[in-house]
Point group: C2
Chain length 484, copies 2
């Protein structure tokens, strides 16, 4: 770097320090005043330097001696998929406990939680029959929580819509007895793919319930992915209070677009599908919790977590094996560097994020019941991709402090420290006032894998996973040391 | 975003504007003065707003109607590998010309360049024979430009070293008649993996020449990758002026580490390898050039390029099919949005980056001979991964202008606008004073693929490739409009 560049960095940095000192209500004038003292920062600089050295050690440890990748290998390849109530889920509970015990965490325990047990059953079958008799098999999967069709399947004409308003306008007379196909794609223009997902996923979540209200006999949803391929993507649907639960499937984007094309030419074609899924009795399962006790303020807890359950089609590598092994790795790295954590650092592997959120709710209930003090909760549930930053839901003061740390992450090309964020499992902690932080990895590839058979170990890059764990450990270190 | 966050962004932005107005010699006092006027920026803001709208359109076009992915599909899957002088290389020249003609570029032409023709021949064979007779096959490939062993192969004891100094200290008496194994791994601690590569690749580039000086009969190099797997990675070696050219291979990291382990137990083990590669007569090939003529300043050229040749083991998807199709896509996007480019925008697909750099040198010679004015040259040769930024080699004024554009890329999570950078093919333009810019995608996965059979279309994500093309198009747009 030449002189000018160094100067630019300095100035950015000094700004930073100023921001962290800003009072809650920020006025332009106050900022102007603060701008006048940016070069008087030496005591703060030395603090930042020691933090930056420790963060460098954290990254070195995760990249040179990291255990996250081999843990993920075991979780996905030896245990496999982990849908709530399944054998895989039960094994993963045992494994997570054993893993944290082996790593010598101070305390490892299970937290009981009753979870729904939804079972896919035999593989789904689906086909299009055109009016000229041409039959085309298509790739589908039942949506999670859906009722099945049973062996006789269902068959009917299709009504294709892209939103609920259009469906409502069609009215019962045009929908009754038919299969509703929700075909609105995720919008590729979004840079953060979670926005594209957010803009389309109501079709999966509420589409079947909306279609049932108008007398539809089944629902097809175009898979929630930005990829154009042959793999259907599952995910929960929610029938809400509706009495009439109709079978619901996702169709691969290729077959879905093919269906749309055929419907334009041949609106009277018929669609058959057969699913064997069912919701069974609830079963006992567990959140798995491991922690290292704080040396000065043991009653103050920093949570870092992911969810242990996964959909059944793949092996839940990105969603959310990655978040689980990263959470364990955070504590392993902090322990192995001999960092004397002031506060208790707790890894929580939540159960049942995918189709019930029972684990997250149970954890928060317990925190409230015990009146436990949580300093922050961090969740990694956006895949094990290259780290980009964190998003935080908290008070303006907390946000300022959080953003003041951004400069420490610049050497790792981690620069997004944004307002807003958290995670499904830690969301129920919100009423306690705990600041919620979501880990933000790069999102471009996530929905290629998400909830499909492609979400397996081979889709995860070792370094990206490790860098994410290091970023999380660095943030946990800063929160532990400086509070939030 | 809440109020405070919006304010933070505003302040960052106003700073930006100030920086672009700063004189070359920056004094603290001058910066302090500039700090006093950050809120008087409306005319500059409106310019920035119109730029930001056009950049938004550029990203939309690349993400919604992008052609880079289908171009890459054709280049890698229909044409395949493209080593200089090969049939694939010749086909890729025809294809690139035809592709740019079809897209209606104003001028598409070939630039003649003589290139070396190195041919791998029959697949390599290698095995370890321990002193107890145990034989282990290992995965190797000849290094590019290496001489072959021929059918009889070579066999010998191994001297393992991690650097040239150790080798020199061993001296001729310990090396003569043996095979030198260079086993220094890339250093995982580096965040930018190109630094890890830079710290290890001299073993491949100069190792065989260094070993030959001391009478070695062959060289093995641990593959240049951060992954631990079974795939050997090729790449050029350079014998320099040495008379004695000895056969050279890369070994997969798994087999390489196994070899190191065995050598500790059994230093007298012998290694056999057989390679059938050879350097043949030079052949005529081409750089492929396509451009859209500037509407106001047609004599001023902005180059954007990648290299068309690739190693023969994979199909050169990331290295550097991605850079080629992104360069074509830059012009397609600018054309299709009806942007009236002031200056001539030229896509150059260089030939022979991998084992000679003849294309890059020839291009620069021509520029110098014709006294062509180049405003900037941008190269994409670090893979088709999610964009992180650009690096520039230029004057301090150019750097300030370049960095002043960073804020326009923030909505796309592209934030690295760093000093230093360029690309192998555009490097020879440096004597002309042309600012050289290297596109910086995320580097974590690059060396997993690089120069190995894994560098195929399936390793490239559509959105990541498209986002890169959009980032490059946005930068070309800014340089075209505002100069550099």
């Amino acid at each position: 770097m030449n002189k000018i560049n160094r100067l630019t960095l300095k100035i950015k940095f000094s700004f930073h320090i100023n921001f962290s000192d800003l009072p809650l209500v920020i006025e332009k004038k106050q900022i102007m005043k603060n701008l006048l003292i940016p070069f008087v920062i030496s005591p703060l600089l030395s603090v930042a330097q020691s933090d930056s050295l420790i963060i460098r050690n954290i990254f070195n440890e995760a990249l040179l001696n990291g255990k996250s990748y081999e843990m993920l290998d075991y979780l996905t390849n030896k245990i496999g998929s982990r849908l709530s109530g399944s054998e895989g889920a039960a094994k993963s509970v045992e494994w997570a406990k054993m893993q944290m015990d082996e790593l010598g965490f101070d305390k490892v325990y299970l937290q009981e939680v009753m979870v729904p047990k939804w079972v896919r059953g035999k593989e789904e079958v689906a086909r299009i029959t055109q009016t000229d008799g041409t039959v085309t098999k298509v790739n589908v999967c039942a949506l999670g929580n859906s009722v099945g069709t049973g062996a006789s399947g269902i068959s009917g004409r299709i009504v294709e819509v892209q939103d609920f308003e259009t469906l409502a306008n069609l009215g019962r007379e045009n929908v009754v007895g038919k299969i509703v196909y929700f075909s609105r794609p995720m919008d590729s223009k979004h840079i953060e793919t979670f926005r594209a997902y957010g803009g389309a996923v109501n079709q999966r979540g509420s589409g079947p319930a909306e279609a049932a209200k108008l007398g539809a006999i089944g629902t097809i949803v175009r898979s929630m992915t930005l990829a154009f391929d042959d793999h259907p993507h599952t995910g929960s649907t929610n029938y809400g209070e509706g009495e009439n639960k109709i079978p619901a499937i996702a169709i691969s984007t290729m077959d879905g677009d093919h269906l749309s094309k055929l419907l334009k030419e041949d609106p009277e074609l018929s669609f058959y599908f057969e699913t064997h899924c069912e919701m069974q009795e609830e079963v006992l399962s567990f959140n798995v919790i491991g922690e290292i006790t704080g040396k000065e303020l043991p009653a103050e807890v920093i949570v870092v977590g992911g969810h242990l359950d996964s959909w059944d089609l793949g092996t839940g590598a990105h969603d959310d094996g990655a978040g689980c092994v990263q959470s364990i790795e955070v504590i392993r790295v902090i322990k192995s560097l001999g960092i004397n954590n002031k506060r208790t650092i707790r890894a929580v592997m939540f159960m049942n994020e995918e189709n019930g959120l029972r684990g997250g709710r149970k954890y928060a209930e317990d925190v409230i019941a015990k009146n436990e003090k949580h300093i922050a909760a961090i969740e990694s549930d956006r895949g094990g991709f290259t780290p980009r930053g964190f998003g935080m839901t908290g008070t303006p003061e907390q946000l300022i402090k959080f953003q003041s740390w951004a400069e420490l992450f610049a050497p790792y090309m981690i620069s997004e420290f944004v307002a807003g964020g958290g995670g499904a499992d830690i969301g129920p902690l919100r009423p306690t006032g705990t600041p919620l932080i979501g880990y933000i990895p790069d999102s471009q590839r996530y929905f290629d894998f998400h909830h499909s058979e492609l979400d397996v170990f081979g889709g995860v890059n070792k370094r990206e996973l490790e860098m994410g764990a290091a970023a999380m450990a660095a943030l946990v270190y800063l929160i532990d040391k400086h509070g939030l």
